[in-house]
């Protein structure tokens, strides 16, 4: 059964249609990369998937028992976060917030979850460090740990390696693939990096000039849309 279904979705930004009639669906455990040039609507689609923007027509539907509070999201870093005084533990723990409803304090279950995810991403030693003093790669790991606290099944990432050096980027991509393989977490990633996407993903969604390609990676490699894009 599909975990996510987009049916004939058109989204607009400030009155202009960014893309039209987009339909695709994902199964549990899929790894989708969303490609496309700047302005092709990748971020708008991401906002739609997150429920921050409503499609102007069509429907975006999560199913298979997934509710909105179970989405894990790794945003592009905002300037606010770069000088935010917060310990790593505080940031990671805040990912569990959606699990506890109105209760004002974190319980043992939330703390355990946060500890587990720190361990999973091997950043337990950074637990009490200040978030803003970390390197870019470490910061992304912290945000990933937070996202994992929020979800067991679906991870959305918005250009997660922007600003990271190649070695750290590769490490980070490895981590995502591991989560996808070992924990069967469905991954949706907006990316600039075509080569990496084709190597790691199971599905590709390519947005360009209001049209789009959606399919398995192999089909994408054969398609004409990838030729222009990959040879650049």
């Amino acid at each position: 059964m599909a975990i996510l279904e987009c049916t004939d979705v058109t989204m607009s930004y400030e009155g202009v249609n960014v893309f039209e009639h987009l339909s695709f669906s994902l199964e549990r455990g899929d790894y989708l990369c969303i490609l496309g040039e700047n302005g092709s609507g990748k971020s708008t689609l991401m906002k739609g998937l997150l429920g921050l923007l409503k499609p102007s027509s069509g429907e975006i539907k999560y199913s298979d028992g997934l509710v909105k509070s179970e989405i894990g999201y790794l945003p592009q870093q905002s300037p606010v976060q770069r000088d935010f005084p917060a310990s790593v533990y505080e940031v990671v723990l805040s990912g569990t917030l959606n699990r506890k409803g109105l209760s004002p304090f974190y319980g043992r279950r939330e703390r355990k979850l946060a500890d587990d995810n720190l361990k999973r991403l091997s950043i337990t030693h950074l637990k009490n460090s200040c978030y803003r003093d970390l390197s870019g790669g470490q910061q992304q790991r912290v945000l990933l740990a937070r996202a994992l606290c929020a979800t067991k099944s679906l991870l959305l990432l918005d250009e997660p390696v922007t600003g990271l050096d190649p070695v750290v980027s590769a490490e980070f991509y490895g981590l995502i693939s591991e989560l996808n393989h070992d924990d069967k977490i469905t991954v949706i990633m907006v990316s600039h990096d075509v080569k990496q996407s084709v190597a790691a993903a199971t599905h590709i969604l390519h947005l360009e000039n209001k049209t789009c390609f959606f399919g398995m990676v192999d089909e994408y490699k054969k398609s004409s849309i990838s030729d222009q894009f990959m040879n650049k």
């Binding site: 997150l50 429920g51 921050l52 509710v67 909105k68 509070s69 989405i71 894990g72 999201y73 945003p75 905002s78 606010v80 976060q81 935010f84 005084p85 917060a86 310990s87 505080e90 940031v91 723990l93 805040s94 990912g95 917030l97 959606n98 004002p104 304090f105 974190y106 009490n128 200040c130 803003r132 003093d133 937070r146 996202a147 929020a150 959305l156």
Partner: protein
């Protein structure tokens, strides 16, 4: 020294100033941390000017000042927050327009109805003499509400401040919590205006948080340090203003400034 500390505290106006000043300082510091980090530092300033306009109108119409100022400032807080979130309008510019207009309207109304009287003067620069018994009771109740809501929503306010989109995407109602922050800020500003004055209340909100951030690195330690420091600065400031016969608001700000410089030096030494 003409008076001992115990003699000073036997004056009703000093007791009232302390009773109002300490909880207001606490609320202002707590909210300030969030406002600074959300880049909303100027909202406090804008709101206080709106508060002044409301007070001038209240005085002209012979109404109780706080009864007019509190609702007007709360409404403006929601309004300013909406503007700041709307990417089409420049938030900074909007706040500047709203705050200077409100101040201007206040002053025009006052001049039309008989010039700056002492009440309005004390609202501009702050006075510990102006507090009535009713003000004190109202302030205590509102501060209790602000503190309760802040503690109850502490973790959610952290999450919304750190990353609004993440909170929204994972199902936290970030907009509602922004409204909570705006409401609490509005209440704090109106209450603080009496002691600090319109022109200086925003410093009560901004200084403690910024000072704490010089030295402390986790959100909780910043919040706690801001709260403690803010209360100490207000108490010291009030005592100094009593002995030196200076305006209370300005004295408190000077103490805050001294504290900021001290923390900056400590922070610089720690980083080396």
């Amino acid at each position: 020294m003409e008076y001992s500390i115990s003699e000073m505290m036997s004056f009703t106006f000093m007791q009232r100033a302390m009773i109002v000043g300490v909880p207001v300082a606490l609320c202002a510091a707590l909210l300030g941390v969030s406002l600074i980090l959300k880049r909303y530092s100027m909202i406090g300033d804008g709101l206080s000017h709106v508060g002044f306009g409301a007070l001038a109108l209240a005085a002209a119409m012979n109404l109780a000042p706080l009864h007019v100022a509190i609702p007007v400032v709360i409404i403006s807080a929601f309004f300013l927050l909406r503007i700041s979130q709307n990417s089409k309008i420049n938030g900074d510019g909007a706040i500047a327009i709203v705050s200077s207009s409100a101040l201007a309207i206040g002053i025009v109304v006052t001049s039309l109805t008989g010039g700056l009287n002492t009440d309005l003067y004390s609202y501009l620069f702050g006075s510990i003499l102006a507090l009535s018994k009713e003000d004190v009771i109202l302030s205590l109740i509102l501060c209790a509400i602000v503190l309760f809501l802040y503690i109850f929503f502490y973790h959610k306010i952290f999450s919304v401040t750190f990353d609004e989109n993440f909170s929204l995407a994972t199902g936290t109602n970030a907009k509602a919590y922004n409204m909570v922050i705006a409401l609490l800020t509005a209440l704090t500003v109106v209450l603080g205006m009496q002691i600090m004055g319109t022109l200086l209340i925003s410093s009560l909100i901004i200084f403690p948080g910024l000072t704490a951030m010089r030295v402390f690195k986790s959100y909780r330690s910043v919040v706690l340090s801001a709260a403690v420091q803010s209360v100490i600065c207000v108490v010291v400031g009030l005592v100094l203003s009593f002995y030196m016969e200076t305006a209370s608001g300005a004295t408190i700000v000077c103490v805050n400034l001294a504290c900021f410089i001290l923390f900056s030096i400590v922070g610089a030494i720690k980083r080396r």
